[in-house]
């Protein structure tokens, strides 16, 4: 049902609630992700004024622990429904992702400690899909579309402009 405009004071909040409820869930989760990751860049820059990248990694991990407990509970709850085949390989790749991601975090933070502005470091590091796409091209032999080739070209231009 399309939202109904009303000048009545009583109906205003009801319509606002309906409009909120009609917003797709995926859009709300996506917007929340933007807020969380966008703010992460800011707080990291503030922290970089008083802590080295290694100590930050320890505190960063402390920050992730409550979520880890919640996710562990979710995994335990859904254990019965999960397939067991290929689990070892899946866990290996997930663990490697964490190690690479963690070392990447240290490098990201070091970039801020070395004087990089959050407004420049965040856009540069956000270009990481260019490496994923290049690896998919070279290692996984995936084909790239025209749009992705354009994205790759723009990524190199962006790095040049941001480093100026």
């Amino acid at each position: 049902m399309p939202p109904v405009c009303s000048a009545g004071h009583e109906r205003g909040p009801v319509n606002a609630t309906n409009r909120w409820k009609s917003t797709p869930r995926w859009l709300l989760w996506s917007l929340l992700t933007i807020v969380l990751w966008g703010t992460w860049g800011l707080v990291s820059k503030v922290a970089s004024a008083g802590v080295d990248a290694y100590s930050n990694q320890l505190l960063y991990t402390a920050g992730i622990l409550p979520l880890m407990v919640f996710v562990a509970w979710t995994v335990h709850r859904n254990k019965a429904a999960e397939k067991r085949e290929h689990r070892t390989a899946g866990v290996f790749w997930a663990f490697l992702t964490g190690i690479l991601g963690g070392v990447g975090n240290i490098a990201f933070f070091e970039a801020l400690v070395k004087g990089g502005n959050a407004s420049v470091v965040a856009p540069v590091t956000a270009l990481f899909p260019m490496v994923t796409v290049l690896l998919a091209l070279v290692v996984l032999r995936e084909r790239l579309g025209r749009v992705q080739w354009l994205g790759l070209g723009l990524a190199f231009v962006a790095i040049y402009l941001l480093s100026a």
Partner: protein
């Protein structure tokens, strides 16, 4: 080359590789279990850091809060991005939309930290976000209204 740029590119390369390893993981196990083992790796890496490096002992409360918040925000962001994909959002749209997050960092850094961008850097930030969106689109994917 500036030292900060070298580290930023190192982060870009490492995070780029995780795009492939994460895919190899979630092809075999659930996204929750994959995220859990991602976190265990963070714990292991922190253990290694504790063994090899003497951590900063005298830290201000604001710095500690911001560092801990950094982990919480990044972790929660990863979790909400999974929820966005699981809630029926098309991967090409969700990932492209999420790629806008540096734009918020730029706005917040300019407004709250009073950072200033040259016109070339401003153009670079916009180009980077456009590039990240284009790179996130799957080949032959069509964005439907």
């Amino acid at each position: 080359m500036h030292a900060w740029l070298g580290f930023a590119i190192l982060a870009l390369v490492l995070w780029g590789i995780t795009g492939v390893t994460q895919k190899l993981s979630t092809n075999r196990i659930s996204s929750e279990r994959s995220f859990l083992w991602f976190c265990w790796a963070m714990v292991a890496l922190s253990g290694l850091v504790l063994l090899l490096v003497r951590p900063h002992s005298a830290l201000g409360i604001v710095v500690v809060l911001c560092s801990v918040a950094g982990g919480a925000l990044n972790g929660l962001g990863a979790w909400t991005s999974f929820r966005a994909l699981e809630s029926g959002g098309k991967a090409s749209i969700v990932i492209s939309l999420i790629s806008l997050y540096p734009l918020l960092t730029v706005v917040l850094a300019v407004l709250l930290l009073h950072e200033r961008l040259t016109w070339m850097q401003s153009a670079g930030a916009v180009t980077a976000i456009a590039a990240a969106i284009l790179l996130s689109l799957e080949p032959n994917s069509k964005v439907e209204p």
